[in-house]
Amino acid sequence: MKTFQRSFTYLVLLFLYIPMLVLAVASFNAGTDPAVWKGFTLHNYSELFADGVLLPMLLNSVIIAVLSSLIATVLGTMACLGMHDMKPRLRNMYMTVTNIPMTNPDIVTGVSLALLFAFAGTLLKMKSVLGFTTLLIAHVTFSLPYIIMSVLPKLSQMDPDLQEAAMDLGCTPRQAFFKVVLHEIMPGVISGALMAFTMSLDDFVISYFVYGPKFVTLPVEIYNYTKKPLQPKIYALFTLLFMVILLVMIIMTVLEAKDEKQQSQRRIAFRGRRKRKEVEG
């Protein structure tokens, strides 16, 4: 039974990762046909880095991902602070409301945002409203719930006395936030920001509805490559993208593990102190 269980785990892993593996192998294939192995080559990668169209698109995607995740992190953290101070019932309600966009089908979000922008455009008498700004707004919108989801638990885990203690010791509320609270919730903020970054980098459906002629992201451009068969340099590009996401995910896991370790150590230290006090008392 045990071997069966173990092999089942491997089977699931294989099932999850085999498409990516095929892609990565195809990116090193000398032939254009992914089904026939014609020898190892880095030619696809060198061609990719000489490409004048795909790389600027990739840069666009990265710009949007970085900016939108930064803005969403700041806004989301601020929202969390407000929600944290609410009464539990109201906070739960807010949590549900902010979580809905996460489960909402992307296509619904995309179409409704596009309609909203078109509507706002006619109100402002701007015919060409879709572009960089709308893309950024859309990405911030769908990133926000992820930030809130990862920051709010950190705030509830935090010892509420810490902030008061800091202020007792002479901090202004702002100093107390930046020196104590922010420090405490930092792991949540970072993992939320990384999550938002990856979500924004690979988003296609929402971007497809709100992008404008002046600013196009990579997934949208690739989707329109229908007039010719896919070139192998695109496999190379996807492999690199996958590696970037993988790296971000690894960083996230490492940070989380570190944070957990710190917390458990702190808990042990805290218990020890209490015990000592009891013994002395």
């Binding site: 046909d33 089904a35 169209v53 015919k127 060409s128 700004t133 709308t134 002629p213 329109n224 007039k227």
Partner: protein, 399 residues
Amino acid sequence: MKRLCALLLCSVLLISSIPVSASAAGGSINVYNWGQYISDGSDGYIDVNKAFTEKTGIQVNYMTFDSNESMYTKLKTGGSTYDVIIPSDYMIAKLISEGMLEKLDYSNIPNYRYIDKAYRDQAYDPKNEYSVPYTWGTVGVIYNSKYVDEEDVGSWDLLWNPKYSGKILMFDNPRDAFAIGELKLGYSLNTEDKDDLRNASYELIQQKPLVQAYVMDQIFDKMEREEAWIAPYYAGDYLLMAEENPDLKFFFPEEGFNLFIDACCIPKGCQNKEGAEAYINFLCSPEISGENLDYLGYSTPISKAKDFMDPDISASDIAYPTEETLANGQSFLNLSVEANHEMDALWLQVKTQGGVDSYAVWSMIALVVLLIAYLIFRQIRRKRRIAARCARWKTDSRD
């Protein structure tokens, strides 16, 4: 804190407004074209948009679509404006009938004189008031000469030949697939008659057992690897396939074939009509058209452009068939909404008829049944275990 937020928001607004204001300064146009449908400077070919900006100082904001229909939706949704769009023939007819295109000012497009007579004044835009041809191409039959007898070749009947059962590929979109059925029966490509459409769908249903797969882009791999021997597809793409596998051959069926033209238009609401016309004019200059289409592999509507192309392509009678052959070609027109619905419904019937799909349904049902059986089995086992435990407990407590 408030000040910090304000600062941050301000900076965001600033950053977001930079690209817009920068491109507006030197004059710019928004071009909306098929993906991968212009020479972009890769593989040592010309970068058309860059060359245009260098020549005129007008910035090109370039955007792509994957089908005529998605372009149409984007135009209708609003929120962005385009100065040049490059749809296909039947979509141009639709856009004209809905009043979505601007009339062109030909005094700004002097290079129109280079466009060959054969591609002017087509049915989709009878006086060429709204559109200037960009590329054209044909749909014919690609076959592998290693496996297919020459005597079977020449007509659409090849796709219905039981000798090659399981080695035939077919278009995976209703309009192109129905066109083949209609041509085989001798109907017009633009028939809206319900009986005609039904008869064409019967032909397709009869063909289905012989068809290996309904595909679009996979045709490249399947034909080059000789997994399939016969497929209808675009002549321009055949030339690319033949480079990989020289055994592949091509013919224009005697019953007629589809001739398509993609043309530049200016949609209503454009912001820079003169810039747009300058762009269209630029695309029509023989040198640019030649180098651009040399990269694309489609055919140019400008005979003079052939001087700037790879002689192998410009001399090929597949990319540039004789006028006699071309006279046999028919282009698509816009069908009425009802006819489109009828065709979609019939196409669904063709696709769901027998075959693989029912396997999928049956295996789904089998899986669900197995799952339910397992759940029931577990429930029974649990009850039995509880009963056994109770019995044991009773005997234990008695002791």
